[in-house]
Symmetry: D2
Subunit: 299 residues, 4 copies
């Protein structure tokens, strides 16, 4: 990794937020101008035990009932009259399944995370002492939606398609938008819709997935983006066209650019979206390396 450029130190030796520092108040004011109609889109897939993409070792989430109307005695101790009470839940969830945001403590290479912090600053008990998700704060800025599947004239990219820098440039031209520094780039592969379609037919998709490769990663760094999101497991293609987690390492570790993964972008495609005002607000889970999010795109 030593011969690669990186952004370590760009926001100070103690910085834990990386490219999120680009999301300044001025950037927010500028992003507001992307709002044209007030129509909003939520970009998260459902959180439920069955029917969503899950890596086996993580396990599917569980919503479990903590209290409900079926157990009226529990409220009587509080003086509740019959028929009155509250339904409540407990959620168990792997933070990197489903629609989620990676913090900059998520991926490490050469035993280091972003900004050169030791990978071991992530402790099993207490989690990330550096670059935990609680350090990120909300992601607020201008989103540029690029429909790579549409660019290729397909409903979803084939499993072995690696999105290139040329794809991104061509998508910008086709949609007449332009990625500027500090933008949040949303790349649609169509994989998530393909997943749900396959599931509804009782079929499964292969582990391999379309996503960005090496040239696209380099371009996104050059364009100085703040965040990259996509509608697949890893933003990057599986397998990578480089080494293991190549794009994670290039963007997250070297340049502090977080990913939002597992998005659903079909509605943006149907409405031919381009620019939008974007808000994703990760839960401030102390020491976590990621958080489930339900991002909002306002057109």
């Amino acid at each position: 990794m030593t011969t690669e450029t990186n952004s370590w130190g760009r926001w100070g030796a103690d910085d834990e937020r990386g490219a999120l520092n680009k999301l300044t108040e001025e950037n927010v004011m500028s992003a507001v101008r992307a709002i044209a109609t007030g129509r909003s889109y939520q970009l998260a897939i459902p959180i439920q035990h069955a029917g969503t993409p899950v890596l086996d070792y993580r396990g599917a989430p569980h919503r479990l009932t903590l209290s409900s109307c079926h157990d009226p005695e529990m409220f009587s101790g509080y003086g509740a009259p019959a028929g009155t009470g509250a339904n409540e839940d407990i959620l168990m969830i792997a933070c990197h399944n489903g629609t989620h945001m990676d913090s900059l403590s998520h991926v490490f290479a050469d035993d280091k995370i972003y900004n050169g912090f030791a990978a071991e600053t992530f402790k099993p008990n207490s989690g990330a002492s550096r670059a935990g998700i609680e350090k990120c704060g909300p992601v607020i800025g201008r989103a540029v939606f690029l429909d790579i599947a549409e660019l290729h004239g397909v409903s979803s990219l084939a499993a072995d398609v690696v999105i290139t820098a040329d794809d991104i440039i061509a998508a910008e031209r086709r949609q007449e938008v332009e990625i500027r520094p500090g933008d949040i780039v949303l790349l649609r592969t169509g994989w998530m819709e393909a997943y749900f379609e396959a599931t509804s037919r009782g079929e499964t998709l292969p582990f391999e997935q379309p996503g960005i490769g090496k040239s696209a990663s380099k371009l996104l760094v050059e364009r100085d983006v703040a965040v990259v999101g996509s509608d697949n497991w890893a933003v990057e293609s599986i397998p990578s066209d480089g080494g293991f987690l190549e794009a994670h390492i290039e963007l997250q570790v070297r340049h502090g650019i977080p990913f939002i993964e597992g998005l659903t972008l079909g509605e943006l495609s149907r409405d031919k979206a381009g620019y939008g005002f974007f808000v994703a607000s990760p839960l401030p889970i102390t020491g976590a390396s990621g958080s489930p999010v339900n991002p909002v795109f306002i057109a």
Copy 2:
């Protein structure tokens, strides 16, 4: 409950979103005008095992490590070189602890939730078939921040203070703001800051808490608000100045107005905030009666 007015049927017999229907595209476009500086505030408290307010029967959340750099073997199967891999977490959390949003399946009275759906539409295994949190969608609109503690000239209201309609009207005047239909009203009691201060001194606060009472609830219904949030456990005072969960029943059950509870509003107070653009995007947990959120207020 039969003699009370309610909003059942106002948005159709099948509606599960209640006052969130007020958050139209026009409302969003109007709310955007509340953005003056681009400065943003996140309103959630930390999610961690110790040091945050937790009801005993719910238990404190746990972030647990699923994978980390301390277990390098797990990545070698994927072809990862030494020193490269990913830190990951599992989160266990009661959905109604900490900063969260109630769905309209949360509270029931006379065996009914909002819009007259039977409380039993919430099933222990599958959760809410009616008015689950996944039906809400993101909360996007104009927030009106009212600093009731400041109005009373205190850093935090005493445990036995019940916020009245007159308090709300006086706060509007003092801060020169006005609640309009479809607004998101954020009421600061100062309780959350008092909680963290007490904890830092090794002390605890009593279970009793300041919050809204009957007259304030009625006023908020009259003003036709979309959502009410506060920096305490229940938005309403504990105990209620009426029956058990009186304000929940008046606002959520009768009028479909969801609550966002457990906010931290100290920074808004310090910056003397008034209007803001507000986004809270609950996780779409199928069948859940609530979700943790990290709401954003953009001034």
Copy 3:
């Protein structure tokens, strides 16, 4: 169900232990005589996230690290010197996956569990107020191991084999053992070994499984056994040769005979076991309808 015989009331109208009442002190003293060599066998399969049989809606168990040597700071607050501390775990487990014991609150038919208690005595929040696993106490008695797979001359019964009363009688004769009242009957289908063999080859087994059917259930009731265990998911065949959960209803609901499911009985087969001293001690989880166990058979 009304025309069937049952054992309701046999141990009193308030009894919650059913056939476990047969496990008297005298019965224990008699069972001790089954110990010939002191060789012991543990009958549970591993509890781990991958590689064991799991019903999808339950999810696989998770062992997660709560504290470890990789996080030395956590112990320094207790005055621990460097290099000293404790590794600790959290376990999340569905009580009816893997090797477990059903309590008599597990299965209901005609809205009733064993002894005629209403199925609704199981509440979502507090669990079983009647016949919870904490009412069972340890299962201590004489086990009779019957190797039905060996009887059929196969390593494991085919998926569509239903074990009959004649099978049980033939196995008793072949192995020269006899089921007496109060015995714990362990029936080997070979399914569990077939499962692990298939898994090791990267294959899966069908959902359908061998197990007891209607005539075997009737015989086990007539023989007045205390507990029935088997090396499959449900003791009974899947699908049942009668109605849904037919054997559960006949044995557990009507006659209070609990099941221990998901055993591994291959070692007992290899050692041609017959009688044994048996101990299975469910965790006293207040209100649970089952518990993981690691039963012991002492030959």
Copy 4:
């Protein structure tokens, strides 16, 4: 630690079971002779969310409902008639709260666990590769119950009492029993009963607890016991009369003698028990450093 004697290598350089190797078939046959009446005692406290001793950082266990009669639709997909189905649970539990057994991967000192294995053989993701609880197998042998509280003429030892070697010898004499090599020693402090009594009065006990100290630890090593259990949090006194986790280090790390902690021994005291046949069968949780157990003592 280098100047202390230890049992490393006694059962081979690869041994992960330590003193459990003393529990031979001969030992079991001998232990059977301790059975006089067939009366059995279960020694675990309830597993429930409230009312049991819990270390804050571990959190209390949760039993949550996975399926129940209150959600009949879930079974209809399986062809279940109305009124028929199953109640099921999920359990979340810290393995070292409540009544549990430590594996020899639990405590480390000088960066080593029992037998000199590196503490780092416990990995956050996969847990213990050495001396995990799944390596223990069931604990079957002769128990010697020593009632130290009775010896001192109190219902429970005061918080600052450290049990000494002389206490153990005096208790043997008073109860006319003798600890032999390979025995399982159960020491009653009365703390657990005091805990539940205090809780029933709405009071709490101090963190400090009675338990064994240095001289008792040395004696138990000399007597060559297999396992030590007690009715408190840590078997040893809190604080230790030596260094941090002194008795854990002496017995578990140096000599491979596991602990069973959090027992309830009041019934054994009331019945003036002495010798018993003992079975504790930890769940074979792959890689765990401990497991909840419900031990059985048969008099």
